[in-house]
Symmetry: C2
Subunit: 435 residues, 2 copies
């Protein structure tokens, strides 16, 4: 039996405590799978006394995670502190500088500093594993980094934020408003007190930026992601989508196009009969399209202590199976120094189908004016639904376009707005092909 | 740059030729990912002259795959011959005996000899990779063997045969009979001239037996799998399923129960709103349920030259990233010598919901008699659908039970048959919970 792999865990919140418990309770299984034991040799957290339902008395205690990374007798540093600077960044850097393997679940950190950290890891010949940083327990990093070797990715997209998917799922199932749903999600602990980061798409964008680097060998560029959140999705949209055979999901999409790489996060219409449309509640899903394999879809728990711990333990186990002298694959599939600058495709050149919901005054000539604006911009329509006027004299017109461009749709809706028939802002939702 | 990994490919059919093409066309990508080139050093096939759209002139040619395995200057032997004995078995054994890594897509071989081959590989300290053997390009082996380290599997199930799923999908979409569908599938090349192996569930059983070993650490035992094919699924079943909110899929299911491990292959009702119900055509899907992560689902292309080649190349790339002295994880997650004898749960003790379709004479007292047989066997009913009698004086009664046992259902349907009201064999289809 080889020597134990010594692990130092920085951060003993929900995920950290769950990792410690799995390592303690599954010792025999992990030893059998890895060919050597995994032991928690050091830990660091804000509060020492808290009951974490696991005996950590054999582990060295560090008040400061950076001190743990610098001094503890460990082979692997597990960063579960969170945040894209401060102690998380400092401790990961310290561990890598010391030639220790690193496992992290920190998407914000990788989204901002991933390339620099990957360069450090590759230069030191150690592993930087981060399965838990994207889509929780779903093994999307391993799949893209290892299983799809030899494949060239054409598009990767997914439901990457459980809070948004939970809200959209309940809005559809129960017919309640976004605001009521959000309040309930906060009450149940599925949404933060300040939900902006989730519902406006920032969290999805962080995760997408990592998938984009893996897919296309580009330097991470989260700041360049086009982003729309779900806060302006209404029951009217959800009902109209259902009527037309679609369901609304917040997707992150990265796609290679002729003009560069598209990275976008926005509410999206996906066909109701597609696999991804059945991904409900806090579940996440990622679809990967490649030249050789075709489309692969992975779905599963995207958040929560146990799901995240499962991915972290998988990462640690991979390190336990490796040995000194083992040549690791690069952190982002491409050697970090070879990652190319990200060439951004302009959102206005995005090509696809569009759902357009217009609230108009119920008067003669309105529909003709709308149709003319569409025709003038070379937009051909797949379907048109018109709901009869309510008591307020307003009518809803819903258009689904064939493939067109973002620029054309914007020009058309600007024109319609200028025509003066609308009583509300036009609602535009992109449609995504999905298997 | 480290030395090239030298690969020998035995079998240059659809898959083998595709593997050779991917290795030839993706040299730069693979070298970048693996840190060294992968080169095809030797090949073997039945016909030397055939045009495979790839230049193999630099590779040593062997007429005999066993000679290739024994003599070629290779690091990895890739077996793509097929069959569970003869040259496939002999050449894999020869390669392992010589201390060469092996990659195979051969489910039949592993289902029959997997444990013995794994013992050889582990004793020699080489890798035996077989991602392509189950669910084609879906990385289910990597996920179970690596990503889910520390998780204990409770159930694994999936759509593992593209031919059956293609037939069931078309039967539902087009309302055509099983026989007509099968003929069309044969014409289009989705089904073999002798389709028995696919449609009666043997192919699914082979794949399931491998997943069972990975899931539960048991010795492979394909012969013990309970098996029912799809040839007796009728339009009446498909329509009744749809009416009740279900879709029929041929599933392979392996599940830990109190009385042992269930391994079964049979047509199954899955909720129409579940993810797996949207897996259409030749696509495969595997769901894995574990104690820590919960349910993970993977879907993608399950067959075809490219999808299979993608998995084979992924396996080869993993070997290219490894180095001499690297301690590999065991072939089936558990060291082969520690794989436990498979303890079979009896099918009669299977617990679950059931769909029962009865064709009965339209006369008084029939329904009461059926209801009594159900009650006598403690079977409680979730729903009952009765279709009015056709011109032939026959009526259809469809029952959906709450959880009960196979034994109870068999006793009840035997009783109903004995009562003499049926004009056709009772149709019984198991229902599977699915997320």
């Amino acid at each position: 039996m080889a020597e134990a792999l010594r692990v130092g865990i920085a951060g003993l919140g929900t995920v950290g405590a769950s990792v410690a418990r799995v390592l303690a309770h599954k010792t025999a299984e992990l030893t059998r799978q890895c060919g050597r034991p995994i032991e928690v040799a050091a830990v660091s957290a804000r509060s020492r006394g808290k009951d974490r339902q696991v005996d950590l008395s054999a582990a060295a205690w560090f008040d400061d995670p950076v001190a743990l990374a610098e001094q503890a007798e460990i082979d692997v540093f597990v960063e579960l502190i969170g945040g894209d600077e401060g102690p998380a960044l400092a401790s990961v850097k310290a561990a890598l500088a010391r030639g220790r393997h690193v496992v992290t679940a920190n998407k914000a950190l990788l989204s901002r500093h991933g390339v620099a950290l990957a360069e450090m890891a590759e230069q030191k010949g150690v592993l930087l594993n981060y399965e838990a940083a994207v889509a929780g327990g779903i093994p999307v990093i391993k799949t893209m980094r290892e299983a799809l070797a030899g494949n060239s990715v054409t598009r990767v997209f997914g439901i990457l934020n459980g809070t948004c998917n939970y809200i959209l799922t309940r809005m559809e199932a129960e017919g309640i408003s976004f605001d009521d749903c959000l309040k309930d999600a906060q009450r149940l602990g599925y949404a933060e007190a300040d939900p902006t980061f989730d519902i406006e798409g920032h969290d999805t964008a962080h995760k997408l930026s990592i998938l984009t680097a893996l897919a296309f060998g580009t330097r991470i560029s989260a700041g360049d992601i086009y982003m729309e959140g779900i806060s302006n999705i209404s029951q009217a949209d959800i009902r109209a989508a259902a009527e037309l055979g679609y369901r609304i999901k917040l997707l992150g999409v990265a796609q290679r196009t002729e003009s560069g790489i598209e990275q976008r996060v926005h509410p999206t219409m996906v066909p109701t009969a597609s696999v991804i449309a059945q991904v409900h509640g806090v579940t996440n899903a990622v679809a990967i399209e490649t030249d050789i394999l075709g489309e692969l879809l992975l779905s599963g728990p995207g958040a929560g202590g146990n799901a995240t711990a499962s991915a972290v333990v998988g990462d640690i186990a991979d390190i336990a199976k490796s040995r000194p002298g083992f040549q690791h694959g690069p952190v982002f599939g491409w050697p970090a120094k070879q990652l190319k600058p990200y060439k951004r495709a302009l959102m206005r050149s995005h090509a696809g189908g569009y759902f357009i919901r217009l609230t108009v005054l119920d008067r003669t000539g309105v529909f003709a004016a709308i149709a003319k604006r569409m025709a003038d911009n070379d937009i051909s329509l797949e379907s048109i639904v018109q709901h009869s006027a309510g008591a307020d004299g307003q009518k809803t017109v819903i258009l689904v376009t064939h493939e067109t461009t973002e620029a054309a749709v914007r020009k058309a809706t600007d024109g319609i707005t200028k025509d003066g028939h609308l009583t509300d802002k036009p609602q535009v939702i992109r449609i995504e092909r999905a298997g």
